[in-house]
């Protein structure tokens, strides 16, 4: 860890204004940031601790949406009655992540902003376009089994987005509220995370100095059931090899509403819109689900060690759809 200046402002306004230089970072739970600072991978010169900001509430908006403060912990969000009742996919996704102690510290804003688990990024020395633009990508021809993607990759970077929470949010539909030097704005959740493309170091839509204040979930879909299925080597405390968060409403044995999002397989929380389309109006069933899964992975590109994620991801989609409709 290197020396940095430290502030702990009390208001959003002060937090946004406190920013001095280019390498400023907000500190929330610290489970990503402090980790990477100790590994010398993230080197902020200024750390702005946001834990005193009044952003720790979950509340229902007038139009039936759910507004989650950026500092709400992963544990609190998973246990929140609104979330458990109306967004089980989110509660399940959160509880499948990390460990109890990490979830107690981890915040909603921090989770949205968590960094990739690619070991070449984290080791601080291997060529990595994300950490050191232009240095190359060690993973493409290296060890890329567990935490690398098959969807949305580029020749510059193939690291998977690691979050479970974000997969559920992508399925539900959400808006990210941000507050920055030039005021407040809203970002559609699906536009928040960015594909690596030619610029893998650009990971999200925040402008310099912008603070996430809330994530607002879309109102729950009528009559829908949802579930999250995370597949991994061990039973707990591992990032997804492949996961699937689905929301489905069936009426008269026809699928009326379908949302499919996938984790562990994409370079961002991955919505499978075409796969959703293929389900609409169909009777729920293995064959229909299986076709949707194929569509979801149509453009998947396997690498030396992670080709299995394509069939595994399909299995996650199929089984979670079966669970949500049975």
């Amino acid at each position: 860890m290197r020396n940095f200046s430290y502030q702990r402002p009390e208001s959003n306004h002060a937090a946004v204004r406190a920013r001095e230089g280019r390498s400023t970072m907000f500190l929330a739970g610290g489970t990503t940031l402090l980790d990477l600072m100790k590994l010398d991978v993230m080197r902020p010169e200024q750390v702005i601790d946001v834990n005193r900001l009044p952003l720790d509430k979950v509340k229902k908006t007038a139009d039936g949406r759910l507004e989650i403060g950026a500092l709400v912990s992963n544990t609190a969000l998973a246990q929140h009655p609104e979330v458990k009742t109306h967004y089980p996919v989110l509660s399940q996704a959160l509880l499948s992540g990390a460990s109890t102690s990490l979830r107690n510290k981890a915040t909603t804003g921090g989770n949205v902003m968590q960094r990739v688990r690619c070991h070449y990024f984290r080791d601080g020395v291997s060529p990595c376009n994300k950490r050191e633009p232009g240095s190359g990508c060690s993973a493409i021809n290296g060890m890329n089994r567990s935490v690398h993607a098959v969807l949305g990759t580029s020749d510059q970077c193939i690291a998977a987005h690691p979050s479970d929470m974000c997969v559920a949010m992508a399925a539900i539909g959400a808006t990210v509220l941000v507050n920055g030097p030039s005021g407040s704005r809203e970002i559609d959740f699906l536009d928040f995370h960015q594909l690596p493309g030619e610029t893998p170091y650009n990971e999200h839509a925040l402008r310099p100095g912008e603070l996430i204040t809330h994530v607002v979930l879309d109102a729950p879909a009528d009559g829908a059931r949802s579930t999250y299925l995370k597949l991994r080597d061990r039973a707990s405390y591992q990032f997804a090899l492949a996961s699937s968060g689905v929301i489905v409403a069936v009426q008269d044995n026809r699928i009326q509403h379908a949302r499919i999002a996938m984790g562990g397989v994409g370079t961002k929380p991955w919505r499978a819109a075409n796969a959703e389309q293929s389900l609409l109006g169909q009777p729920p069933g293995r064959e229909v689900f299986s076709r949707a899964a194929d569509i979801a992975f149509e453009n998947a590109r396997p690498y030396a060690h992670n080709a299995f994620k394509i069939p595994l991801g399909k299995q996650a989609v199929i089984r979670s759809l079966i669970t949500a409709t049975s």
């Binding site: 290296g142 293995r286 069939p311």
Partner: protein, 744 residues
Amino acid sequence: MSESNQRYIGQARPRIDGPKKLSGEARYAADHHLPDMTYAYGVFSTIASGRINDIDTSAAEAMPGVIDIFHHDRFPSLHRSPDNFANGTKVDEPRLPFEDDRIYYAGQFVAMVVAESFEQARAAAYEVQVSYRPDTPITRLEEALEQHKPTPDEGSRHERGNPDSAWKKAPQRIEAVYNTAMETHNPMEMHASTAAWDGQSGRLVLYESTQGVVFTRNTIARMFGLLQDKVEVKAPFIGSGFGGKLFVWPHAVAACAATRSLGRPVQLMVPRAQMFTTTGHRPATRQTLKLATDADGRLQAVIHDSVNSTSMLADVPELCGRCTKSLYACDNLRVSHATVPMNCGTPTAMRAPGAAPGLFALESAMDEMAEAVGMDPVAFRLRNYTERDGSQDLPFSSIHLKQALEEGARRFGWEKRTAKPGSMRDGDEILGWGVAACNWEALKVDAKAQVTLQADDRVLVSCATQDIGTGTYTVIAQGAAEALGVPIESIDVELGDSRYIYGPLSGGSWVTASILPAVAQAARAAVEELKGYAIARGGPFESRKKDDLSFENGALGVKGGEMLSVAEILQARRLANAVGEASTSGELGKAYSYRSFGAHFVEVRWDPGISRLRVSHVLSAIDVGKVVNPRTAANQVEGAVAMGLGMALFEHTEFDQASGLPVNNDYAEYLVPSHADFPDMEVMFLHYPDYNFTSEGARGVGEIGTTGLAGAVANAIYHATGKRIRDIPIRLEQLMVDDLAATG
């Protein structure tokens, strides 16, 4: 001693050191903060092979708090350790840290910054600029085998009969190659040294996380050219070692050198990432098994040829055939071992070295052979059961493998198993049941103990062995309480200090068997000394002879007459204590072969629709002689089973092929079983004391549970999926069903 009267030995007792560990009172190597202490942090090689071109420390030196920076051009000249087990100077890696500019593995110490605080040292370490002249590293066993001819380990080779021709002639035979991955010990407590040199007295004190305070003292003394009594090594508590802390690693040497150079105490912790490089590992193995039977399933030939990866610095053979040579009846048999070097740190013993990977291969092969001859796996093992160790042509001192297999099978419900792979279903899941034998040498080494009866009626037992988390404190207290007939609550045990009377290295599962006889003898010697005080002039039994007196329930007296407490006697003579010492030999009778046995029964659940494999039930029937403390012993078996599960399914220390840098060097990415992975677990001790082994009848229990487990898991997986996987860890992609439509 007749068993039924035993009040402490054989009883399930909680750990006497438990409260200290729970409350944080137990201090580990890096918990010691000495006055005026400095902190060191390593700079570790980021190439796996080559040379250091240049080390530029100028920026680091200018950082706040930096005191000194060591590297190969700036390090005191030391001596290598004689590296001799017999005189307690064995090391794993003979090369000293900073010996020269050569790089043999990624993560090798290339420099070390000493600063006023840990954070300052670490920050400065990041500023040390090292440039290299890299060579292409060898990072995998396959690659090493392509580039080097393996070096045979002649000493461990065993051959009897004519295995090759017997194999060729036999009516039923199999041949298969098994691969096991490199694994890292991963104890919770990282390696750490807190070293303090006192220039005036020329003494070195070292708090080290070690499984051997005596070995460490001897080794460090040799390296620094000091007399043994000028070095004190302390490890009252260690957060486990699993074999990775048996011998001295470079960090300890570096810390001692730094404190001697600077004249201030130095603390050096090995960061978690470097626990995967510079402090040992279980090497990767490739094992070729050839088994043959007659038409009735009797083994006619067993050939087990094994080669393992080692470092560029030392040949460390992993003795995979150490159990194969005697576990089953077979007249034509060979086991052989060889090593091949690659660019990794030096391998070392890891819980059940040799036996764990070796029995994975043998017990997988036994299953394959059973299938080839059309026999049930339990029945096939029983058919080849023997009570003689064929490698030594001696009877086993005590063997209950048969009972382990039979009673274990009964308890597990093995008769309900249907043989056809994939034939046992439960909803979306397919069950697989597998069995494997476990096996480990029963070892014993020289030991000493000191028992002090004190004037406050407490008893102190001390010895320079260690409790590495296995329950040694508790077992020693039980032994002393038993020998003296006093409540266990009145016993204090002090271990882990090289100034105490000699104690054994905590390894090989030999501590309990070795130390208990010494403790019992020392207790008797202390009572004798006490009797001497009691009958001497001014003593309470002045007119009596020693033989008139007996010691019962902590009191001394004439049978039927007045009994006086230890305190009363010592106070009468104004003495502080009565001290007894004993020394027992590790030598074992030559009439037997001494080994422990057991059997694991494993149930896996395979959900092909989501490619999910979980181990749901393990029953381990364990034959380790007398069980001194069923509670700590069961805990050892459970932990060993967890480690076996890790070996079977998760653990694999991986390196980038091009750079040779480790890629999963933390607790998030190097997978070990989590609590949620731990199955329903039953430990079944068979309780047959082995009095041919020692008077206590107890063989060790620390390692045996890890042996065979991976084989039982692989066999259960085969039974569930029909896929015989010969490479561990077994991963879901090896098991996936390709036809999704069939399974979804």
